[in-house]
């Protein structure tokens, strides 16, 4: 009897985990089709461009309003990097429309990107956007950076109380795209123009050779190089 109960509990826990979803770095981003302020959109509509999918707790709330204006302000910079923005909350399309009109009328900021109306929480569950210890009904402040091949490359989760930092989001995009383009890594507090980290050698021979390649090396495992501006 005890065994049956235990198995039942385990199945329930597994089912809850599956329902909540928990994306993993490097995996294909969960597909979706969702109603937005710019029509019905699918994740596959973004193939070939990078996408920042981000959630906010609710329309017409103060921190979210400051964040939306901040996202709108970096939109042109993101487009230069082949990145699109897609917002999400569990509010309706009508609420989203009223809110973005309010942002334009009262704050003078036009919101140029679409916002998912995830009333039934389908997308929120797939991406693990609802954290019951924060709120059982609202999405927390998530950011999913999805590359042109629809892979999840970075995730940020902020609590309801704390607005996100747009400079960090832009820096993260620059770091990921630089790492892809030049097959390098980026050190702590890196910003465009700073030296990048040459990947650690995997053999003793490579370790010996890299010391002769003109990199700036603190030791055999920590070497950096500058990327020419023209690249």
């Amino acid at each position: 009897m005890f065994v049956f109960i235990k198995q039942g509990e385990n199945k329930m826990v597994e089912a809850q985990k599956e329902e909540m979803g928990l994306p993993i770095l490097g995996q294909k981003a969960p597909d979706f089709e969702a109603l937005t302020t710019q029509g019905t959109l699918r994740l596959s509509d973004y193939k070939g461009t990078w996408l920042i999918l981000f959630s906010h707790p609710a329309d017409f709330t103060p921190v979210c309003t400051t964040e939306f204006m901040a996202f709108a302000e970096i939109y042109d910079e993101l487009k230069k990097r082949n990145v699109e923005l897609l917002g999400l909350s569990v509010d309706s399309v009508s609420s989203h429309i009223a809110w973005i009109r309010n942002c334009e009328e009262k704050m003078g900021v036009k919101i140029p990107f679409p916002i998912i109306a995830d009333l039934n929480k389908d997308v929120a569950r797939k991406y693990g956007m609802i954290h019951p210890e924060q709120s059982k009904t609202e999405t927390v402040r998530c950011v999913f950076i999805i590359d042109a091949e629809s892979k999840i490359r970075a995730m940020l989760y902020y609590p309801l109380t704390t607005g996100r930092n747009m400079s960090e989001i832009l820096r993260l995009i620059d770091a990921l795209q630089t790492a892809d383009k030049h097959k390098v890594a980026t050190p702590a507090n890196w910003k465009p123009g700073d030296p990048v980290v040459v990947p650690a050698p995997s053999t003793a021979e490579q370790a010996e050779e890299r010391l002769k390649q003109g990199y700036e090396c603190k030791d055999w495992y920590l070497c950096t190089k500058k990327i020419p501006e023209s690249e």
Binding site: Q38, G39, T40, L41, D45
Partner: protein
């Protein structure tokens, strides 16, 4: 819907896409370049226009249907 209004007529952005197809079958990427619309909106809009019968798809390219040709006249 961004490209087809509730009364079944193409919206302004829908008409932009239809006019881009006036003389040639184009891929979504080509339509995005020609119209200046973001690629995600072109793909979403083409789904609607196809569903409403304004465009036809063949080998990853889209062309006007008879209904689409009439709509842009």
């Amino acid at each position: 819907m961004p490209c087809v209004s509730p009364d079944g007529k193409p919206t302004t952005s829908g008409m932009t896409t239809l006019k881009a197809l006036k003389n040639a079958a184009l891929s979504p990427e080509e339509i995005a370049v020609k119209t200046g619309q973001p690629l995600f909106r072109v793909r979403s809009g083409l789904r609607e226009l196809k569903s409403a019968g304004f465009v036809e798809e063949a080998e990853d390219k889209y062309k006007l249907s008879k209904t689409g040709e009439i709509a842009i006249q």
